[in-house]
Subunit: 376 residues, 2 copies
């Protein structure tokens, strides 16, 4: 699959939008794909200056057209709603780039904004490795290492262009996965956009609920904290993502609302065995996910360590575990307040390990307890 | 509020169900409330033997009646569905205990299983400090320290009995909060049972979804992982909790399904400004929660550190942060696989701290990046 003799190699890359993602892609292009000429454009000229100084790109350009002109590959690394305009700007360069791609988290909206002619040299892309908003300062050539990198070619794209992009994605360390646009957007709706909507809706429902003079918000526990960690995150960015992927998102949300209603019906009809089956089926999927991530789920134990809220305590606990050669499969923190501290919740493999963690924590003077099963 | 001269003090406590919670309550009764006579009963006689040996209880009893006879306070610390039978057994003791309470996470079902006569000396209780299933071995006298402890007295309960329980709860270190039964169950449905249902429904929807030959489950990111950490947990226990709190849970779930549908309508009617307002309102609630937990939300930054999957790495990072006196307000881990490792996601106060964390991580050789705002 990697660049063959029939495929002309990539000699010049243009990155349109030089933030963390664009900068990391530029670095990976230079150091991993051995591209010597990597030009950058950003709406903020300081970003491209900084990128040149840091050796992230080889040349700063004042316009997207200037950056994209004559490039073998132009990569648009901008917020989803800016993508179509930047793709069009890149395609308007003289000479136009051989191929344009993007890294936006939704695809149908972008494609529908392009003409048939545009689509002949555009392939939507989406690396699954975070969507942070920090700048080029934190760019890393290994950001894409091991990440699934979706590619969504339309029928208009010549196969040799797809091959070029596929090879480049593999060279920067990611795993290219071809998927059709509708499937991509539906999957992203389910695994990313729906969780954000659920977190928001749960948080606003609980935030607004009061009974008997008691606010629900002040009685929350670890499960609520886990479910709402992303609630309210970056409002303008998430508004844009929700609307860009509106169709798939609405379909998924309506499906989920239907599932909640049907769960209510199981409760109301006293169908205890089906409820149990459903939870067990869910446990099966979670085990499958853990297996996919190389964690042995049958033996996953959850250990809760109650720690005070002081600098150094987490490191003290972690150092103790590290010295004992204990591997943490997953972890989360449930903070109560400055006075009480919080619960550090650790997931480890095997009951013996769980007991060891508990004893180590107790030696340090912290309460600890554990429960078995895939997630306690 | 603490035990007055008019209130006879608690001299003998019976704990019915000696697991982590019951054992911790027994220890707290002995060491914090200075109760010299703490008797225990458990369906598993080994648990009470172990509890006597470890000094958790002062006497092991073979039946709940034997343990409860003549007690000033009998505390039922058993799974929700076993609570009514144990309350009735305690009340049938000769002489009956002065007061019976429980620590179950739902209240209406238990109350409805009791007679008016029973209710004269029963007060439902519910400490918010975890519902782990590990045994008495991990019992700690400080388990209840600082925890909200709901008390749900009915109208049948004489005020002086409520005062006795209130004083005891304060003595073991918890914060007693009176709340009516319906409000309690509705709040618990929202903050605990609904999150579990959402986690289950999201996991089973994603688990079953495949498009274009790609399984959604294999494309999940950190937000999905956070939302489904409790998915599939302890199926029989959660089935029981869901059914015990069926009425409040169904009301909350139907409300939430309605919110999802109304969110879909906002998307379909192109109402971008209301969607933005909703996310911002949610961000406000999350900030309020963080403030309630003594975290300054305005300055919370999210730092992602990509770490390999090896024992000692977490401790290495945490030790570095501890040495630099950096306080972690919240954290979560997103594991990819053994090869790539995962993202350690840390929440810290202030951009300067975020940059320091990033630099420390990079000094250790790990990629790091950050984003601002309440949760990135």
């Amino acid at each position: 699959m990697v660049g063959t003799s029939e495929t002309a190699p990539i000699r010049r890359v243009a990155v349109l939008g030089v933030g963390l993602m664009g900068g990391s892609l530029a670095l990976a292009a230079r150091r991993r794909a051995r591209v010597h000429d990597v030009r950058g454009y950003d709406i903020d000229p300081r970003a491209t200056e900084q990128a040149v100084t840091a050796g992230v790109i080889t040349r700063a350009c004042g316009t997207p057209e200037e950056a994209a002109a004559g490039a073998d590959l132009a990569v648009v690394c901008a917020p989803v709603r800016s993508v179509p305009a930047l793709v069009k700007a890149a395609l308007a360069a003289d000479p136009p780039p051989r191929l344009v791609t993007d890294i936006g988290s939704t695809k149908a909206g972008i494609i529908s904004a392009l003409t048939l002619e545009d689509r002949r040299c555009f392939i939507g892309g989406h690396p699954i490795c975070g969507a942070e908003t920090s700048g080029v300062r934190f760019a890393r050539e290994d950001l894409f290492h091991g990440a699934t990198y979706f590619l969504c070619p339309t029928d208009e794209v010549p196969p040799e262009l797809y091959e070029v992009l596929h090879a480049f994605v593999a060279q920067i360390g990611a795993k290219p996965v071809a998927v059709d646009i509708e499937a991509h957007d539906r999957i992203m709706a389910l695994v990313s956009h729906v969780p954000h909507v659920l977190a928001n809706v749960l948080m606003s429902t609980v935030g607004g609920f009061e009974a008997s003079g008691r606010r629900a918000l002040y009685s929350v526990g670890p499960s609520f904290k886990d479910l709402t960690r992303v609630a309210g995150a970056n409002p303008p960015m998430w508004r844009d993502i929700f609307f860009e992927n509106r169709e798939a998102l609405v379909a998924s949300l309506r499906g989920l609302a239907g599932e909640l209603t049907s769960f209510c019906e199981l409760l109301e009809s006293d169908d205890e065995s089906t409820v149990l089956e459903r939870i067990e089926q869910t446990a099966g999927f979670r085990q499958e996910l853990l297996q996919y991530e190389d964690i042995t789920p049958e033996t996953l134990y959850r250990v809760t360590v109650r720690i005070p809220d002081k600098p150094g305590v987490l490191s003290q606990v972690m150092t103790g575990l590290g010295n004992a050669n204990i591997n943490i499969e997953d972890l989360t923190l449930h903070h109560f307040n400055r006075d009480v501290g919080g619960d550090l919740i650790l997931y480890v493999s095997g009951e013996e390990t769980a007991v060891t963690v508990g004893m180590l924590a107790e030696e340090l003077g912290y309460a600890a307890f554990y429960s078995g099963g895939a997630g306690g």
